[in-house]
Symmetry: C2
Subunit: 165 residues, 2 copies
DNA sequence: GCAAACTCGGACTAATTGAGTCCTATATCC
DNA sequence: GGATATAGGACTCAATTAGTCCGAGTTTGC
């Protein structure tokens, strides 16, 4: 569950880098790759997909390269990541495509869909400018107070916490 | 990114089922599997892991079986899912274990860690009782108003939306 | 004590997904 | 026309996930 694929990480790096460029500047894939120490071919591929997703523009030829279509604060985190995440939903069932044989009578579909919807909404609302901004720029922790009803008190959950950060 | 593993789905089902039981009731793995139409052996495995995580208790022998340690509203969604998600962090870098060679100067580590932390916090605060409750019981959409500063207006994000629900 | 019903837990295999490479075609600038 | 780019598909290899199998340990009832 929700490790970003490495492609997504690369995409985030690249988008961030491009966001720092001046309005008429652009960079070729090779430079973006080398600067970030990323595999060249893979970076090229990623940029292609970002282009198809409408995040970056490209120009070919000798002095070609990539640049952002919109500034960083108009690019949603979710959109940068979406092309590289095969299963963006929380579970397959959520698609509704009748994929799941036990769909009828399933007591999980609803809750999963709700949670998924909530998550997606927030990631769609998170701009790259915010995401990448240093310090408290994220705003997430500020804008969203801890809910109070019926919650688990976190101190009684003393389990592993390996990767929980 | 964040498809739940199938094991997690199964775990959620099983926990939900056990939560509906009376205080002194319990069910063997075989029944839980058959009722939910899940693979028997795998269900048994999942229950073992849930036991190690402190979610369920088991008793062996003839009339043995599994039951919840705590009631549904004291079990965090995150805890049910955690044992089955290898990479719970948003990205490997986040662990900090020096795993990443480009850690120094990385402009992604901070933002990813922040976002990850935020997500984990909310999933830890979501009890199974809430999660699974029908209708608007989730409370997530109620308690958390949409932030307003610097956000992307969602109507200009007209891309794929395949799995976005 | 013994058999039946059940959990425990590791080892193993198969299937899916992810990461990364390679190669060819096409466009642009000088 | 040659150098430098992107475009995009096909392909391989590695990692993870899903699922199976089997032997061992436990409790209950007879
Ligand atoms: S709809 Fe697939 S398991 Fe619920
Ligand atoms: S720390 Fe690993 S890429 Fe940033």
């Amino acid at each position: 569950m929700w490790k970003l694929s490495r492609k997504s990480e690369y995409a985030l790096m690249v988008v961030q880098r491009l966001g720092a460029l001046g309005p008429s500047e652009q960079l070729p894939a090779s430079v973006l790759a080398d600067d970030g120490d990323l595999p060249r071919d893979l970076t090229a591929k990623i940029l292609q997909e970002l282009r198809q997703a409408g995040i970056v523009q490209s120009s070919r030829g000798v002095a070609g390269g990539y640049r952002l279509v919109r500034p960083l604060d108009s690019v949603a985190f979710l959109d940068v990541v979406r092309p590289f995440e095969e299963h963006l939903g929380l579970a397959d069932c959520v698609d509704g495509d009748g994929g799941c044989k036990r769909a009828e009578g399933c007591t999980l579909q609803g809750p999963v869909a709700r949670l998924n919807h909530w998550l997606m909404g927030h990631l769609r609302g998170l701009s790259m400018a915010e995401f990448v901004g240093p310090g408290r720029g994220l705003g997430l922790t500020v804008d969203m107070p801890q809910p109070s009803t019926g919650r688990v008190s976190s101190d009684r959950l003393g389990s592993v916490r390996r990767n929980a950060l």
